[in-house]
C-alpha cells in the first residue's frame, strides 16, 4: 500500500474530521476527534490491510501518519 492510500485509510477511520484535513504530515493524535475508539479502529484496519499487529505503545511512539506508515512497513 502506498503512503497516499494509507493516509486515506487513516482518514476513513475518523468519522467526523473532513478528509481534506488529512495528509502524510498530519499529527493524527492532535486531531480533536482522536480517542480510544479511533485508536482501536486503526489497530484493526492495520490488522486487516497488512496482517500486522501494532500495539498501543506503537501508536504512542508515532507523531505523523507517515511515521505510522513507516512503522507498519518495518514490522
Amino acid at each position: 500500500m502506498e503512503l497516499n492510500d494509507f493516509v486515506k485509510k487513516i482518514a476513513a477511520e475518523f468519522d467526523e474530521t473532513p478528509v481534506e484535513k488529512f495528509s502524510a504530515s498530519v499529527k493524527f493524535k492532535d486531531l480533536e476527534e482522536w480517542g480510544s475508539l479511533t485508536a482501536l479502529s486503526i489497530i484493526s484496519m492495520i490488522d486487516e490491510e497488512f496482517d500486522k499487529k501494532i500495539t498501543g505503545e506503537d501508536l504512542r511512539s508515532c507523531g505523523t501518519i507517515e511515521e505510522l506508515y513507516n512503522l507498519v512497513l518495518a514490522k
Partner: protein, 333 residues
C-alpha cells in the same frame, strides 16, 4: 453418555442506561457514534443494593416457572461470577438456600469472565457424562457496573449487568460437543480489578488518566483496549479452527455462529477475519451490552426464540475473556 443443554433463561436488571444518558455525561461522544461503532443501544445496570446473586435468583426462577422440570431434580449448582456477594462463603452455597434447592446437592463458584459459560458447560458435561451429577444448574451472573469508575465512559458503554441460567442434563435441546480451551496469564493485567482481593485488600487510591483521558485505577475495573483487541484478533481464528477440528467438521458445516457478544466492533472484526456470512453470524448485544459470562446463553435463548436456530443446526460457540482465558465448543440442536 452424552450431555445436553436442556433449558436456558436469563434476567436483566430493571434499570437501563441509554446512549442518550451516556452522551449527556460525556458530550464528546454522540448517540450515533456509539450506535454505529459499538452497536449497543441500552445496557441494564443493577441498583446499589442489588447483586449478581439477586439477578441469578431471578434467572433461575424464570427457568423453573411453567416448567415441568422440578427444582428437586437439580443435584449440582455452579455459580459463575466475578461479582460474589462476599469474599467467603461461596455465593453458590447462599444461592442453594435462596433458591430452595435440596441440601444434598453440590454447589460451588467458578470465577471466570467472558469465557465462563463455555467453561461452565464443559464442567457440567463432565459431571453428567461421568455419572457424578444428573442435572447441573449453571448460573452465570455479573455486575461489572459496580466496578466501573464514574468517568469510565468506554467500559460503561460496553458492559451491561445480567444473569443467565442454563440447565445441563443427559437429555435436552442441544448436544454439547467437544471443547477446546486456552489460557495465558501473561494478559492478566490487561483487564483487571486489582483491589479487593487478598493481594491488595484495600483501595490504593492511585487514580491516573491514560492518553485518551480514561481513568486508570487499581480500585476500579481497568481494560487496556488495544491489548485486548490484539489478543482477540490473535486468538479467535485459531480457536475457531481448533474447535472445528476437535469436532471433526468444517466451517461450512456450521449453521450458526454464536460467539461471545463483546460489541459490534469486535463482532464485525471477527466475522470479516473468519469470512463468515452475515446471516450465519448471530449478534445480540444491542439491548443488553456485553454481559460477560452470560452473553452466549442470552444469544442462544434469543436465537431459539426468533427462529435463527432450527432443529438439526450445528452452532459454533467460542469466547475469549479476561485472564486471558478462552474456549469453544460445538452445540448440535
Amino acid at each position: 453418555m452424552k450431555a445436553y443443554i436442556k433449558k436456558i433463561e436469563y434476567y436483566l436488571p430493571e434499570s437501563v442506561l441509554t446512549n442518550a444518558q451516556i452522551v449527556e455525561k460525556f458530550p464528546e461522544w454522540t448517540i450515533e457514534k456509539i450506535e454505529n461503532k459499538i452497536g449497543i443501544r441500552t445496557r441494564h445496570v443493577v441498583k446499589e443494593d442489588e447483586t449478581a446473586s439477586d439477578l441469578a435468583c431471578q434467572a433461575v426462577e424464570k427457568l423453573f416457572t411453567g416448567s415441568s422440570f422440578a427444582k428437586e431434580s437439580v443435584d449440582c449448582l455452579i455459580f459463575c461470577s466475578q461479582s460474589p456477594d462476599y469474599i467467603l462463603p461461596s455465593t453458590a452455597c447462599i444461592l442453594q438456600k435462596r433458591l430452595g434447592l435440596l441440601d444434598s446437592i453440590a454447589a460451588y463458584d467458578v470465577n471466570l469472565g467472558c469465557s465462563g459459560w463455555i467453561y461452565g458447560i464443559s464442567i457440567a458435561k463432565g459431571l453428567v457424562c461421568s455419572g457424578i451429577s444428573k442435572n447441573v444448574l449453571l448460573v452465570t451472573a455479573e455486575t461489572y457496573s459496580k466496578y466501573l469508575h464514574p468517568q469510565d465512559k468506554g467500559n460503561r458503554t460496553i458492559f451491561g449487568d445480567g444473569a443467565a441460567a442454563t440447565l445441563i442434563s443427559d437429555n435436552g435441546i442441544a448436544e454439547i460437543g467437544n471443547f477446546v480451551f486456552g489460557t495465558d496469564g501473561a494478559g492478566a493485567e490487561n483487564l483487571i480489578v486489582k483491589c479487593g482481593g487478598a493481594r491488595n485488600r484495600y483501595p490504593l487510591n492511585d487514580l491516573s488518566f491514560d492518553d485518551f483521558g480514561n481513568p486508570k485505577s487499581s480500585d476500579y475495573l481497568y481494560m487496556d483496549g488495544a491489548s485486548i483487541l490484539n489478543y482477540t484478533l490473535d486468538r479467535i481464528p485459531t480457536l475457531v479452527y481448533d474447535v472445528l477440528q476437535k469436532n471433526d467438521i468444517g466451517i461450512e458445516d456450521i449453521d450458526l455462529h454464536i460467539y461471545h457478544q463483546a460489541n459490534r466492533y469486535i463482532a464485525n472484526l471477527q466475522r470479516r477475519k473468519l469470512k463468515i456470512d452475515v446471516e450465519k453470524y448471530y449478534h445480540c448485544y444491542e439491548e443488553c451490552g456485553n454481559t460477560v459470562s452470560s452473553t452466549i446463553p442470552i444469544a442462544i435463548f434469543e436465537a431459539l426464540k426468533d427462529g435463527s436456530i432450527q432443529k438439526g443446526y450445528k452452532v459454533l460457540s467460542v469466547a475469549q475473556g479476561l485472564g486471558y482465558s478462552w474456549g469453544g465448543c460445538v452445540l448440535t440442536f
